[in-house]
Symmetry: C2
Subunit: 130 residues, 2 copies
């Protein structure tokens, strides 16, 4: 468990390979909108982001949670079918100390659609007990 | 120009789709080793990283430079052919305030092999002068 806020960053520029009219809503914005009316677990903040540059495999989100956690980028997300996955995954991420959701509880979509991850800013304190 | 150290994180676990013998050196480790004997510009710190999970498009690095900069992940890198690009790109990144290397000076490999990017931790102060 962690006291640090978890950010669920959603790329709102994503077109997911579709043609979007000049005044049309982009799939990335639709994903943000759909998440914004969900009850998110305590400690999770939904944040719009400019292009995450995962354009070939959008829609995209990132999960970030303070200097001791890995940051994860996930792709191939859809505003209709992946809301439960994202809410569940964000909660699981939030409950970790280092950002690593154990494999057995990791959402299936996360297992197969991790685009990249970034190490924690702060290296973990070595466990001297071995 | 920034005073904040720039981290050039290199995924040392990368096999780049090759078969690596149990006791053989991985391409990611070779990339780190090759960079470690280069003269890096002031302000740039080379850091080994565990798997960046960009395994389909390795080798991989990330550039990170403090709370006001975007973090970038680049892929499809080779320990023999991309050392100059990485040193040049890290220096250009270091010299920006927000991590965005202007397109015209961005190394060609960076233009076509950005895997993802993560927004700055700290939002920029709005320019009230418009």
């Amino acid at each position: 468990m962690t006291d640090q806020t978890t950010e669920l960053l959603v790329c709102i520029k994503c077109k997911r390979g579709t043609e979007v009219a000049e005044d049309g809503e982009r799939p990335g914005q639709a994903l943000l909108d759909a998440l914004s009316i969900r009850d998110l677990p305590a400690g999770i903040r939904l944040t719009p982001a400019e292009c995450l540059q995962n354009c070939d495999h959008g829609c995209s989100v990132a999960l970030r949670g303070g200097p001791e956690k890995w940051t994860y980028v996930y792709g191939n997300l859809h505003e209709a079918s992946h809301l439960d996955t994202l809410v569940e995954g964000a909660a699981l991420y939030h409950d970790t100390a280092d950002g690593l959701i154990p494999w057995r509880t990791r959402p299936e979509h996360f297992k197969r659609n991790c685009i990249a991850r970034i190490p924690p800013l702060r290296a973990p304190v070595p466990n001297l007990k071995g």
